[in-house]
């Protein structure tokens, strides 16, 4: 199994390690609920070394990205980041990614899902054949990736870097001196809180992890695992590949229209135009809450009366709401907020209610 540069640190902290897309990753150091609360109230530190990191450069970098993905790369300003999809020719989702234009405008950087990175790199190398001057460089092994997430993130991080964090906007990134090393960081995350993600050499990743824990000790900063990250992203209504989106969904099915710009000729565009021309989708991704004890989980069926109307995409116990929450695709006639439904466990049907997404939105 692949290990991040922080692997021995996690083990010495007593983390429970799990196989995540071929990587040995910490799922929790303490209680998942306590870790999730810490991120909502103070700040938590995450190892994201499993995420794929790819540099795209050369004179054709922008033209290559216009073919590869759904957002309009020509509209991404230097130092800015956009959410996008890689589709197949049928418009079905191969991955959801972040596209970063280099602050110095000399290329792009992509962060992709660990579980899809081999396929993504294959698609990128195939797509690159259509362009004379583009280079696809897999930096996943060369760079580490960690994140600090939570309302105290900026306070804790301000002493770490010469980058002006007050001016670093949401979905922007910068290069500079970070913990004594040249590196990059962005104001992004997957928790619904303010925070930063770091893209640093392996050596700098280890040093920055330790330094942030030191700087944040007085504010309660602690390492948090992928278990907390998953419930935090679900509360914030952020899709996860393999749950809300996969090879059976288009971006329109998932309500991710904002990631698609029909301004350029990306793979899958014709299929999306056809879907749009055919009219509205027949099903909608909704939120579901339940105040019962049973937790709705991926794959559980959803019902109205005796009729099965869908399946749970993601589910979990929300520490922030004090409810169990889930997502699922429902036929439009059952997708109205307030609709009373049930989910099936082995020991019976459990009452639940359709609600709008996201479950949680921080105050800005």
């Amino acid at each position: 199994m692949k290990q991040t540069v922080l692997h021995s640190v996690h083990e010495s902290l007593g983390a429970r390690m799990v196989d995540f897309a071929g990587w040995s990753m910490p799922v929790q150091y303490r209680s998942i609920i306590d870790e999730a609360k810490l991120v909502r109230e103070r700040a938590g530190l995450f190892d994201l070394g499993h995420m794929g990191r790819v540099r795209i450069c050369g004179p054709d970098a922008e033209a290559f990205l216009q073919k590869l993905q759904t957002n309009d790369a020509s509209k991404i300003a230097p130092g800015r980041i956009r959410y996008a999809m890689i589709l197949n020719a049928d418009g079905l989702t191969q991955d959801d990614i972040l596209v970063y234009r280099e602050p110095a405008d000399d290329g792009f950087f992509l962060v992709i899902n660990a579980g899809n990175s081999d396929r993504d790199l294959g698609i990128m190398r195939e797509t690159a054949k259509g362009f004379a001057n583009v280079e696809v460089i897999d930096q996943t092994e060369e760079l580490g990736m960690i994140a600090i997430q939570g309302p105290l993130s900026q306070k804790i991080t301000s002493e770490l870097t010469d980058i002006n964090l007050g001016e670093l906007k949401y979905y922007a990134w910068a290069r500079g001196n970070i913990c004594g090393f040249e590196g990059a960081m962005s104001r992004t995350g997957y928790t619904g809180e303010d925070g930063f993600e770091f893209y640093l050499s392996q050596e700098a990743t280890l040093a920055t992890w330790q330094k942030l824990l030191e700087l944040g000790a007085g504010d309660g900063l602690l390492p948090c695992g992928l278990g907390a990250r998953d419930i935090l992203r679900l509360e914030a209504g952020m899709p996860l590949y393999g749950h809300e989106i996969d090879e059976s969904t288009t971006p329109y099915d998932a309500g991710l229209d904002f990631a698609v710009k029909l301004t350029h000729d990306f793979t899958g565009r014709a299929a999306l135009e056809a879907q749009r021309a055919a009219g509205e989708t027949r099903r909608k991704l909704v939120g579901i809450t339940s105040s019962e004890r049973r937790v709705p989980r991926q794959g559980y069926s959803l019902h109205v009366g005796d009729k099965e109307i869908g399946k749970v995409c993601s589910g979990g116990a929300s520490p922030t709401l004090g409810l169990n929450i889930a997502t699922g695709y429902l036929p439009l006639e059952f997708a109205e907020p307030g609709t009373e439904i049930t989910f099936a466990t082995r020991s019976g049907q459990v009452p639940a209610t359709v609600v709008p997404l996201p479950f949680y939105k921080r105050e800005r």
């Binding site: 209680s31 609920i33 004890r293 937790v295 989980r297 979990g316 116990a317």
Partner: protein, 126 residues
Amino acid sequence: MRPNDRKYLKSHEWSKTEGDTATVGISDFAVSHLSDLVFLDLPAVGSAVTAGEPFGEIESVKAVSDIYSPVSGEVVEVNDDLPDNLDTLNSDAFEAGWMIKVKLSGESGELMDAAAYEELLKAEAD
């Protein structure tokens, strides 16, 4: 060392026999491994349990797990307070956290004594 007045299954349930009755629960290791417990489903008094078969369900934030019976027989008493007080399992899995009492008709051939169970836990930690 876990209590040596009882026997253990490798799926982390324990059973303590007194006369013709066995008290059944799960170990502190199971409780800590599950972490963040949310739900416990126990059988009713009068129902039958079979050694090696599930008799209940325990759910944590992470997953739903079956609870296997170390013994066969009829359930004669259930710790009805436990599902509403899951913290009891965190604080006292071996006494106050008992789950059911069974009028014995047989027991699993795979039961271990406390020393063997400790060895198993050591092996799982590596």
